[in-house]
Each structure stands twice: as C-alpha cells, then as structure tokens.
Symmetry: C2
Subunit: 161 residues, 2 copies
C-alpha cells in the first residue's frame, strides 16, 4: 500500500463531505438557516459559523497558515447558540465558509505525501515520536467525521414535502 | 508510514464513533427512542434499526461472513420510517445492534494488515486492479462517517435541560 493511495482515500472523503454539506447550505435560504435543527437545539446559522470556525482553525493545526477569521472562535466555539449579543450575517458567514474551505483545499492539494504523516501543531516533536498516529492526516480524518456529524443535523432544516 | 499505523488510525475512529453512539443509546429510554429526532423526521428506533442493518451488511461486504439479521434490510433500508406494518421492539434491536458490532469488532481485530487493502465484496477483481482505493479499509472509513452522520441526529433525542 503506498501512501498516495491512503491520502487519496481520506482526502476524497473530506471533499465528498464538503460537497454534500454545501449542497445542503446552497438549498437553504438565509431565513431557513435561522431555524433550529430540532426544537431548542442549534440553529443552522450557528452550525455554519461553528463549522467555519473549526475549519479555519485547521489552517494552523495542519501547519498551513494562521486562522483567517479568529473572531469567529468566541462566537461559535466558546459560546453556545443564542447567547452571543450579535453574530455575523448569513451572507458574511457563507462567504467566510467558502473562503476557508478553498484556502484549505489549496494547501491539501499541494502537501507532499510524506508531509501528511508528520505531526500536527498541537503535539510536540517529543510526544510525536511515541504517538505517530497524531499526524496531519489524522486531523483531516477527524474533521471529516466532525463535518458528517453536523451534516446529519443540517439536513433536518430542509422541509420535508 | 507503515500500514499498521494507518489501520490503527481508522479502526480507532470506528471504535470511537461506536463508543460515542452507544453512550447516546444507553442514555435513551425505550420510550425516548420512539421520538422523532426533529418534527416529521426519523424516529430514534428507526435509526437504531437502520444502523444495525447497515453494520450487519458490513459482514459480507468486508468478506467476513453472511449478514446475521437480513430481515432488517427491508424494514430499515428499503422502507422509510413509519411505513412498515411492524418493526422489532427496542429491546430486540438493542440486542441485535450489540451483537452485530461485537461480531464485526472480532473480525476487525483479527484481520491481517495486508488484507485491509484487498477488495471489498462489491467490486470485481478486474475492476479492483484499476480502483485499488475501493478496499476493505475504505468500507470501514465510509461506515465510520455514516455512523457519525446519524449520531449527530440521535443526540437531538436527549432532552435539553
């Protein structure tokens, strides 16, 4: 088994989940995004902000570059939905979501195969020697699973006919 | 990068998602399982049956053994929720879910590393030569992402306080 094939397996899943999630977002109006996925739970717009903040943080975690929208972190990672004084508009979040994922994809496509198996930024070089599964490819795998989790919730926003 | 490490990365995610999902199921009463994850959508018990049927089908797909509960397939794969005349009880489905996952885990633990990169049962030997990413490890990866998707919905059944 060569490394390229394994990287393809995982990056294909990442892109597949992104395409499926974008299909949902594109089919939801800004007004529909303001609804809760289930009574009393997160609104679509909060999940959009949350996913954008999480993917933005992948940029430094994968040692690509600094986060582009760090101001999203307190709003969508530290605070629960419906507790912040104000959050960005759906229009702005949709643009940031697109921008972050395009930036990520550019880095992902250009990372040499061997570099995927080097450490991510949240583990020291010393610890990585003992825990070599905590590599950059593992981050992409984790975030793919995370995206799928919230995609399962976002699909509930679409009205059943 | 050795194959063992990559297999560990993916089988760890599989087990992690199963543990997290079982934590939700164990915390839901049989009565709570009868609720819909969001108004008009699937009930918890349907998702339990659906996941059991999908995981049961992994047994032949991974070329481990025959499906143990093929009678679940028409009810939870071919029919939408609330359309079958009758479905098994929560008690029975909980037992089948546990049994299927234990059976799978036994096979997963014992599969030699190289065998993970051989074809799954839905692709011919000829096609596999051209599409070697369609291997058994890829099935486990897909089903991990699938499980996460429905876990995101099941968590909505738990009453918020």
């Amino acid at each position: 088994m060569n490394n390229e094939l394994l990287i393809k397996m995982i990056t294909d899943k990442w892109q597949g989940q992104l395409i499926a999630t974008n299909k949902i977002f594109d089919n939801l109006s800004d007004e529909e995004l303001m609804h809760e996925v289930s009574p009393g739970r997160n609104r679509g717009i909060y999940l959009l902000g949350h996913l954008t903040a999480v993917h933005d943080l992948m940029l430094p975690l994968l040692r690509f570059e600094e986060a582009k929208y760090p101001e999203l972190q307190p709003l969508f990672l530290h605070l629960p939905d419906k507790t912040a004084d104000a959050i960005p508009s759906a229009l702005q979040l949709r643009q940031q979501w697109k921008d972050v994922n395009e930036t990520l994809l550019n880095h992902i496509k250009n990372l040499p195969a061997d570099d995927w198996f080097t450490r991510h930024s949240n583990i020291s070089e010393e610890d990585f020697i003992k825990e070599s599964h905590r590599n950059r490819l593992n981050v992409l795998l984790d975030r793919t699973i995370h995206l799928s989790n919230h995609r399962g919730q976002l699909i509930l926003l679409k009205k059943t006919i």
